[in-house]
Each structure stands twice: as structure tokens, then as C-alpha cells.
Amino acid sequence: MTKAKPVQSKLKWNKSSLIETDLYIRVYLAALNSLMTPEDKQTLFVVSKFFTDGAAETGRGNCRVADYNFRRGEAYYEAIDAEKQVLRRMINNVYHRSKSFYHYRQGDFDEAIRLVETTLQNNRVLEKQGFGFLVLDRAQQYYNLSRIYFTKREMEQGLSVLSGSISFLIQGKSKQLPDLNDHLMKEYSADLKRMRYLLLCQMLFDTAEQLMRTEDKDTFLKNGKLFYTEVIEAAKEMLILSPEEAGLKKWLLLLKDFYAGKYTAFKKKATAYLEKEPNFYGERPVAILQQYLARA
């Protein structure tokens, strides 16, 4: 394929990939089983499919088919009893996210942003009704929001949102996105803690790799500072819930010297780190650090 940019370098729309893992499904189904009737659950699955299909077709560039799927799903949604609030909200969780992506791809950014914001509000209500894990979904929605800002070339806005969301995942609270401070991360269940760590790594390294692709040195440093300043601050207060997470904290704190312009110190510490520290998340953090060394 001839591409102007390799596909991997683009920030992927996060729908999220966690949905594919058994962990998320387990947490999700456990919540559904305790809060919905079997019939409503099945209605949720079937109606949601129209919207996830709509998003998938949008991703393939099939706008007409996507639109057709959305309209069919919307009709089924309308037919659901208004009293079934939880069911309707859960469907909306999928609907708003999928439709936001559709509008984004159509270039209708205002509507895409509005729908992300609606998802965020909708999630907050559901979280209080027993779907606490959706706070992590909110973190991902901010990731999607940042993607819209980047496409609009509003880099500062995008990096600020991204940084706020990742800081939340690091220390359980965010200065820039205070609405995420609803819950106490320390009190999460084991599954939820694990999900939080996986999401954090995924979002952090996707962003790190994306930022690394900026060739122009000044832009690279500027964007890096915009993103990493709050993230590194958050790292100092990182909530460490497993041994691997200590590895991530050390990795993040290395970047402090780089962005402070202390390249000699950075090179020394980073080289020592690469020699001694075990991998905490496969090759990606190692590769990124090596690229930083090359740029120092």
C-alpha cells in the first residue's frame, strides 16, 4: 500500500479495544446480569449491533450502509418502552459513541464533539446505577475527543484532554478533567484495576508513538511538553496497584529530564534503565525510550 502516513501511526478511534478482551466482557456481563432482565439484555445486544455495525461500516468508508444501519437501530430504540431507563441508557452508550465516529468521518466535527459529551454525561448517570466500570469508558471517550481536536488541528486542546485523561488513569484524579474524579480508584475491584492498567498503557504508548513521529524538533518538544507535563506530575503520585505498575512509573519519570532539557542526565538514567529494568509491557516502552535516546 502506498500511504502518506503508515496506518499504525494514526491514533485509532477507541471503540474500545478492551471490549474484545475477556476481562471487559466478564465485567460488563456481570453488571448486566445483576441489573437487567434476560430479555432486556438480549434487546441490548441486538439493538447495539446496528450501531456497532454502523461504526464498522463507517470505518470501511461505507457511509450509505452505515447510515442505513443507524436508521434501523434508531427505529428499534424508539420502540423501546420509555420506562426502561437503564436499557435505553446502555444502548445510548453504544449509540452516541458510534454515531460520533460517523459524524467525525463525515467531517461534521461539532456534532461529533456533542455526541462524545453526551456519552460522557450518560455514562456518569449509569456509573451511579451500578455500572461503575464505565468511568474507564469515559477515559476512552476523552481519547476519542482528542482525536477530533487533532483532526481540527487544535493541538493544544487535544493534548490537554489526552493528558488529563491519562493523568486520571495514573493517579485516580485529573486537574484538567475534574468530572473524572467521581470515584476512588483505590476501591476498584481487582478486574477493574487490571482494566485500568491495560487501558493506561495502551493510551499512553499510542500517544507516545504518535508524538514521536513529529519530525520537526521544535514541534516535537512543544507538543511533548504540552502532553507530558501533567502526566509526569501525575506519575509522581501514581497509584501503584501491582509490581508492573512500578515499572511504568519509573519509565515515565525518566522523561522528566528529557523535557527539562537535561539530556546528559537523561541519557545516563535511560541507558541504565534499559540495562537493568525488566520489561513491564513488552517491547513498546523499550522502543520508545530508544527513540528518545536517539533524539537527546
Binding site: 500500500m1 502506498t2 434476560p38 438480549q42 434487546t43 457511509c63
Partner: protein, 405 residues
């Protein structure tokens, strides 16, 4: 919400002799082209409407594959609409150019602007955040060397239009019945100018063409062995073998087998089903190939539009097949649609014809799922039910085999 079993679902015979509640069957959805194995017990639950007794994970798989659908869904309408809209969407993303071996000189190519290539221009003017362009350049030349040269120049020219950062393109070089003797000498050793490669070979009947097929296959096989990129790039080979008997292919079977083992190669073999080959003949040939251990697609190549376009007289040396296919299908279509009227309601046939949708009623995944639309007749399209389940079982048995390294 209430559900039902899709009418477009095929259920195989039991996969073991006992046929008790735990025995599995293949349930194949012609709507999605996916099949799964489930037990007689689960099938009974579905038939009896006991959906809430089905475990969540299994339920989501069944509904994801559209084996279970909303009870009020007008399935035929949905299938036709989706096909129509998908075709329209796909046309929007494609620019298919056919370059004829007339005087398309270098200076002509270098003078092209987007205005000379309307399909490309149409694509470039679309408004969307990410664009993927599938550009196929079919070079209808006998000489491989000339074709490669043309292609490289065309590619450079199109690149110079500057389509913007977000566009992804795939340059596919298509050869139609080229002379391939000495093919290895013409293909580059490395860094080819194409991202994907297709060969079309059509063999009208006759003894000498069986020999020609054998030579063609040998040259292709030698090239694939020698050139590393031919084991990596998407490569498709389409053999239109209308009129050749399966006995006439005996000598070619070992090479077909060799080629079919390449992971990146899609081998399409078309016995001309759309042009008069009977369903029984096609099936017996498939079984023959199965016995020989050959994996191939027995479906008409999606790109058979190149063949169709070739049948018309085209004035210009550059043909935009994106729209040529649409108009040309009507010529072929009338005969096919006439056949379809035996089984389907007139208005259904008309709807398909209007949107240039073909009914691949025994060859490709059918639009109708094999069911008739005739109001007074509930019987299934016989070609479909006789043939299609055999194909599904055939592909299923292939899927159980591990490919050789």
C-alpha cells in the same frame, strides 16, 4: 424484543451418526457468509423461541452472525438494500482504469490531468476525513514488458496529482491474457512498482488451450518460486475455464495444487457458471479438485468486469471501468434476469435489475438465501439447495486442515 431464526440460514446434516441432542450441525448464515457449529439442543431452543435459555456468549455470536434476527425484520428487503448500498459505497471508493494496448504513449500519459480520469477526479472531490482509494490499473497488453512500463509511468503520473496526506492507495496491476513466456525475465527482481498483481487467463474450448493453460501455470509457478515479492504481495490469478473438461485439466492439477498453497495467492477458478455451465458439472469439478487437495475459490472473480468491458468496443485507450461495468451489466443481465424470473417474483427481479444486482443463485452467496419470492410457491431454488450446502461443507472441511508450511 422478539426474535426469529433467519430464513437465510442453512443447517447441515448432523456431523455424527448418533444425531442426539449433543450432536452438532453447521449452521451457515448466507447473510453474513459465516457458519458456526452448534448442537441440536441449541437449534431446538431457537426453533422453540426459548432465547433466554441460550447463554449470553452464544446468543451474541448467533445474533452477530445474523442467525437470530429481530422477529419483525423484513429480511429480503434488508438484504437487497444492504447489497445496493454497499455497491454504491464501493463504487465511490474505486477508480478502475483499463488501459488498452493502443497508442497510449508516454507523452500522452505525462499530459494527463485529473480531468482525463473522471473516476479519479470524482474520488478526489469527495468530502470525507479519511479516504481510501482502490485504484486498479488493468493493462490489456500481450507484452508483459510493455505493460510494466506503462504501469510505472501511469503510477508516477497519478502520484503527481497530489491527493493529500489522508489518502491510502493500492496500485494493482492487472494483466489480461498476457503472453507470459519468459515472464521471469521481465518482472523486476525486487521493488516492484505495483502493490498487488492480478492475472486473468481465459481458455476457450479446444485441445491447444489445455496445453496453453499448462504452460501458463508452469511459468507462473516458476516466477512465484523465484521472486520473493510474489510470495508476499496480494496476488490473484483468475482462470476462466469455460468449456474445458475436468479430464482436460488432469495435467494441470499438480501445479494448481502448488500454487494454491501460497498464502498470499488467491486462486479463482471459474467454470463459466454464469455462462451456461451446469451446477452438477461445477460440483463434480469441485469434488475432483478437493480430491487433489487444491484450495481455490470457485466463485466468479469480482473483477470479471475486465472481461465484460473487453466485449464492448471502446473508443478511447483509457477506459473507466468504474462506470463501464454498470452499463455493460445490462447486456449480460437480461438473460440472467430472465432465468431468475422462473423462481422469483417479477418485482423482486425488477428491483435487482434496476440496481444492477446480480443473483448468483448457486455460485456466489445468493441474495435470496435460496428462497423463492413466488407468492404461491414455497419451494427453494433447486440449484441453490443442491449446490450450496455442498460448497459450505467443502469449505468447512478445508478449514479443518492445517496448511502445509
Amino acid at each position: 424484543m422478539k426474535f426469529k431464526l433467519s430464513r437465510y440460514v442453512l443447517i447441515s446434516d448432523p456431523l455424527d451418526q448418533k444425531d442426539d441432542l449433543r450432536t452438532e450441525r453447521i449452521v451457515f448464515s448466507t447473510r453474513t457468509g459465516k457458519g458456526i457449529k452448534i448442537t441440536n439442543y441449541v437449534i431446538a431452543l431457537i426453533r422453540e423461541g426459548e432465547y433466554t435459555s441460550i447463554p449470553d456468549r452464544l446468543f451474541t455470536i448467533l445474533m452477530y452472525h445474523e442467525i437470530i434476527v429481530p422477529e419483525d425484520e423484513e429480511e429480503q428487503d434488508l438484504v437487497v438494500q444492504r447489497k445496493k448500498l454497499t455497491a454504491q459505497d464501493a463504487l465511490q471508493r474505486q477508480a478502475n482504469l483499463l488501459i488498452r494496448d493502443t497508442a497510449t504513449t508516454t507523452s500522452e500519459i505525462n499530459a494527463w490531468t485529473p480531468d482525463d480520469l473522471p473516476a479519479l477526479k470524482n474520488f478526489m472531490e469527495q468530502d470525507s476525513v479519511v479516504k481510501t482509494l482502490q485504484l486498479s490499473v488493468a493493462v490489456e497488453v500481450k507484452s508483459l514488458e510493455r505493460g510494466l512500463d506503462h504501469f510505472a509511468k501511469i503510477r508516477n503520473r497519478i502520484r503527481s496529482f497530489g491527493m493529500g496526506e489522508e489518502v491510502e492507495t493500492e496500485y494493482r496491476l492487472v494483466f489480461i491474457n498476457p503472453v507470459i513466456t519468459g515472464m521471469i525475465d521481465f518482472l523486476p527482481l525486487d521493488n516492484p512498482s505495483f502493490d498487488a498483481l492480478s492475472f486473468y487467463f481465459s481458455a476457450p474450448p479446444g485441445k491447444e488451450n489445455e496445453t496453453a493453460l499448462l504452460h501458463y501455470l508452469s511459468a507462473l509457478s516458476a516466477a512465484v518460486k523465484r521472486l520473493p515479492y510474489l510470495q508476499r504481495l496480494p496476488l490473484s490469478c483468475h482462470f476462466m475455464l469455460e468449456g474445458i473438461d475436468s479430464s482436460g485439466l488432469a495435467a494441470s492439477l499438480p501445479i494448481f495444487k502448488e500454487l494454491s498453497l501460497c498464502r498470499n495467492l488467491k486462486l479463482h477458478i471459474d467454470l463459466g457458471s454464469l455462462r451456461g455451465c451446469s451446477a452438477e458439472k461445477e460440483l463434480s469439478f469441485m469434488l475432483e479438485l478437493e480430491r487433489a487437495g487444491i484450495r481455490a475459490f470457485f466463485l466468479p472473480a469480482i473483477d470479471d468486469k475486465y472481461q465484460l468491458a473487453g466485449k464492448q468496443e471502446m473508443a478511447s485507450s483509457v477506459v473507466d471501468l468504474t462506470t463501464a461495468y454498470k452499463t455493460d451489466v445490462n447486456g449480460i443481465g437480461n438473460r440472467e434476469y430472465g432465468e431468475m424470473k422462473v423462481f422469483y417474483d417479477d418485482d423482486f427481479v425488477q428491483a435487482l435489475q434496476q440496481d444492477n444486482l446480480r443473483c448468483s443463485h448457486c455460485v456466489y452467496l445468493p441474495l435470496c438465501g435460496g428462497r423463492t419470492g413466488k407468492k404461491n410457491d414455497d419451494s427453494d431454488c433447486p440449484a441453490f439447495t443442491r449446490n450450496f450446502m455442498k460448497k459450505v461443507e467443502f469449505m468447512y472441511s478445508f478449514s479443518l486442515e492445517k496448511p502445509e508450511a
